[in-house]
């Protein structure tokens, strides 16, 4: 009796994930080349930058905030990386005076710049008390404007080989992109589970006023969370640019919604205080597998959008239902 009840609970708590697994099995059985190493690599390469963005935005979500500037921040980071890492013999260099710098240096520069944008978000949210939805919506527009400004609305290409290799290369069978994602995932897992910063983050999300009473530096924690988010968008933008071999103002458009959706599907509660790194990974995987499956099944891209939208709404509805049942 108790066991069948638990089964039912398991099904309803993981309904979306179960559906996606079934969809993948169905796709694998009805189409060719689905369960192949190449397709798997394709999945990993797509998942990695999105997982990094989702990790960044998860801190904002867990503290009952959000970050709508994530996608545009990824775009700006990709454009900045492009400007820093175009090859010297490329004719249409955006910054002709730019010397040849190694890609890790460029990455650090971009992370510092995007961390500053995140810091501004954090200050506006925590000290000026602007609702995160509004604060980051404003930042989204500002970043897009800045990005158009510095790139003259021109797409950029002509990257150095070393930069392109960051995305295309692999260590044995493991793509470099996956290594980045694994390192980020491990870092966030450690941060969220084993440090004061993580505990304070969950406390603020669980009850900001109570956290303050308990002596938590709420403002400082929030600012750190948004800065870290900015740095993750920088890393993701850097990787997305390398993967695409080019960048433009359109890069990263809409990624924030995908990331927020992935977090929510992965159990980051819209009510704050709840969310695990493993869950975020599952959320991103669900989303990407859905896309790939529909692609393999030859579904019109228009329907893919509809399916994605439905998954988002259903996942949040199920999440809230879990919460409502406790009342």
């Amino acid at each position: 009796m108790a066991k069948s009840f638990n089964m039912k609970k398991f099904m309803s708590n993981n309904a979306i994930i179960i559906l996606i697994v079934l969809l993948a099995i169905l796709t694998g059985c009805t189409t060719q080349n689905f369960f192949t190493v190449n397709n798997f690599k394709n999945l990993v390469v797509n998942v990695s930058p999105r997982f990094i963005i989702a990790c960044g935005v998860s801190g904002c979500l867990i503290t009952k905030g959000t970050d709508l500037s994530a996608g545009r921040a990824v775009g700006l980071a990709a454009c900045l990386s492009a400007m820093l890492l175009q090859s010297l013999d490329y004719s249409a260099r955006m910054l002709p005076w730019m010397p040849d710098i190694p890609w890790p240096v460029a990455l650090i520069i971009v992370m510092v710049i995007m961390g500053c944008f995140g810091g501004v978000n954090g200050v506006v949210v925590s000290m000026l008390k602007v609702p995160p939805f509004i604060a980051t919506l404003g930042m989204q527009t500002i970043i897009y404007g800045l990005c158009s400004l510095i790139t003259n609305n021109q797409p950029m290409g002509g990257y150095k080989t070393s930069y392109l290799t960051v995305a295309s290369g692999s260590l044995g069978p493991i793509p470099y992109l996956m290594i980045f994602a694994v390192v980020v995932g491990a870092y966030f897992w450690f941060l969220y589970n084993k440090t004061r910063h993580g505990k304070y983050m969950y406390a603020i999300g669980g009850n900001e006023n109570a956290a303050q009473v308990a002596g938590v530096n709420v403002q400082g924690s929030l600012i750190r969370i948004y800065i870290l988010a900015g740095c993750m968008y920088a890393l993701a933008g850097f990787l997305v640019g390398a993967k695409a071999g080019g960048a433009s103002t359109a890069t990263g458009n809409g990624y924030e919604l995908e990331a927020i959706a992935a977090c929510t599907i992965g159990g980051v509660s819209a009510n704050g205080g709840v969310g695990r790194v493993g869950g975020i990974l599952v959320g991103v995987l669900v989303f990407e597998i859905l896309k790939i499956c529909l692609q393999f099944l030859g579904v019109d891209p228009a329907y893919t959008y509809i399916a994605q939208g439905l998954v988002i709404v259903i996942a949040v509805a199920l999440d809230l239902r879990k919460y409502l049942q406790k009342k």
Binding site: F190, K194, T195, R196, K199, Y200, Y202, A203, G206, N207, N209, A210, A211, Q212, V213, A214, G215, V216, N217, S269, N271, G272, G273, V274, K326
Partner: protein, 502 residues
């Protein structure tokens, strides 16, 4: 037709982790005021919410005007003639008084094919209803322009406007001044003479004995009995409410107040209507009770001392050294802890585990290499406290919100004890906690004082203050109006100081 207008029998209502009602009952005669009494957490409000259809009872029946009924929701209750004024107001301050009275049941008219709200009728009716309860407000004024107590009266007008046969008043006088209470009693008397049955929930003994015809007492969700009000005495009611003799309510205290450790001088809020020029001293191992009426600014004062509110002037001296407190962290670093009044709003981290809730204020103590938390050490701390304070929880990973109020409070006390504070401010430490757990909390407080911690305890329960304090500081309207030694304190001398308005 039975002699009762409304009967509730054997009502059972369970919330996760707690049986809020277990065999409750209530028999309401027409044209009477029926007081419902019991301690916080006895289930009075829950029973009324079942009557009003906000909660659905698990078991039990409601017989209304001789017929067995099922009340499906507040709207159903209102349609049947049952109205309720809630303990916590639910006002819409940005809309007019009239709209607040008629929200959800606006009068409508036809404007061609569309149905629109008939504003003229609404405001006319609202004016009439306000007049009926002797309120002289413009129904078009924003509700937010009224004071809290005036809003409460509007809420009562709203209930009256529904032409109710049963009116539930849940602690209606908690924010009213003496004159407003009189006005309310006049309204209640008029309603009673019109044959309305009124359920009156209050903690104020004198009010109950004055206004009510019958009294039903509840304890721990159970029906204890119903008596005619004129047969009752205060002592009898308390004994029935608490379920034991008064002398056994509080543990024996073995603390010996020592030298003065904490001194506050001339402490004044940034808000001119809040606490001002407060000075007091606290000894080592002393329990200082803080008494006062609602609005005496006791909570505000303590939150000011803890750095949650700003102050303009004032000096805090701790062990002979002046300390500056502008945020809770400063207070915590100086060995001060504070259990806030509203456990849900500013105490518990609801969705987090017991372990996280216990450790959050003292994480700096469990670091490995300066940055990594030592989970084993935290688990030790939690297990130690769970055993020491006998916290009833399935595991340290349980979400705190699934525990009962008393156990949540013990978790919060553990949170602060982990910091070994010397001064522990407790604001209404036993609010919303059942009787058994209350006694345990008292024992914890007594034990802390015995170990030499200084305790400041705000309480609105007079007997608790008298039973637990070495000394009682009384406040009125933001000022300290006097100190009374615990052994000499009684209801009269405390109330005399608490009502010393300027």
């Amino acid at each position: 037709m039975s002699e009762y207008r409304l009967e509730m029998h054997n009502v059972v209502k369970t919330f996760p982790g707690v049986k809020a009602l277990n065999g409750a009952q209530l028999n309401l005669r027409p044209g009477t005021v029926h007081a419902l009494m019991g301690e916080n957490g006895a289930g009075k409000s829950t029973l009324m919410k079942c009557m009003f259809g906000i909660y659905h009872m698990d078991e039990g029946e409601v017989i209304y005007e001789g017929e067995k009924v099922q009340i499906k929701g507040p709207l159903d209750a209102l349609n049947r003639g049952i109205a309720m004024v809630h303990q916590e107001l639910q006002p819409i301050p940005e809309r007019s008084i009239g709209e607040n009275i008629y929200v959800g049941r606006y009068p409508v008219k036809k404007l061609g094919p569309v149905t629109v709200i008939d504003h003229d009728k609404m405001y006319e009716d609202a004016a009439r209803v306000l007049e009926e309860v002797h309120l002289n407000f413009d129904p078009k004024a924003k509700l937010g322009s009224l004071s809290v107590s005036q809003m409460q009266l509007v809420e009562i007008a709203k209930a009256v406007s529904a032409d109710c046969k049963v009116l539930i008043l849940d602690e209606p006088t908690s924010s009213l001044t003496a004159a407003e209470v009189e006005a309310l009693f006049t309204i209640i008397n008029e309603l009673r003479s019109k044959g309305v049955s009124i359920v009156y929930i209050s903690h104020k003994m004198d009010e109950i004995l004055r206004i009510s015809d019958e009294v039903t007492i509840m304890r721990d969700g159970q029906y204890i009995g119903t008596w005619a009000a004129k047969e009752l005495t205060t002592d009898f009611i308390i004994t029935k409410m608490v379920g034991r003799e008064l002398s056994e309510l509080y543990p024996a205290r073995e603390n010996v107040p020592g030298e003065e450790v904490f001194e506050v001088e001339d402490f004044t809020s940034i808000n001119p209507k809040s606490f001002r020029r407060v000075s007091f001293k606290l000894r080592k191992g002393e329990i200082l009770g803080v008494a006062g009426l609602v609005g005496a600014q006791r909570t505000e004062l303590m939150e000011g001392l803890f750095g949650l509110r700003s102050h303009t002037t004032g000096k805090i001296t701790y062990k002979g050294k002046e300390i500056k407190i502008t945020q809770p962290k400063d207070a915590i670093n100086n060995g001060i802890a504070m259990l806030t009044e509203d456990r849900r709003a500013t105490g518990i981290l609801g969705v987090l585990s017991i372990a996280d809730n216990v450790s959050i204020a003292s994480l700096n103590q469990y670091l490995i290499g300066g940055f990594m938390l030592d989970d084993a050490k935290i688990e030790n701390l939690v297990q130690e406290n769970v055993a020491k304070l006998s916290i009833k929880t399935p595991s340290s990973k349980t979400q705190i919100q699934s525990l009962s109020g008393g156990n949540q409070q013990k978790v919060l006390i553990s949170r602060w004890l982990a910091n070994s504070p010397d001064v522990f401010i407790m604001d209404e430490p036993t609010r919303g906690i059942d009787v058994g757990a209350k006694y345990e909390i008292y024992c914890i407080i007594a034990e802390m004082a015995k170990q030499g911690k200084s305790i400041i305890m705000i309480s609105s329960e007079m007997s608790e203050l008298i039973g637990m304090s070495d000394r009682i500081m009384v406040m009125c309207d933001g000022r300290v109006t006097g100190f009374i030694d615990g052994s000499e304190a009684n209801q009269e001398n405390i109330m005399a100081l608490a009502t010393q308005f300027e």
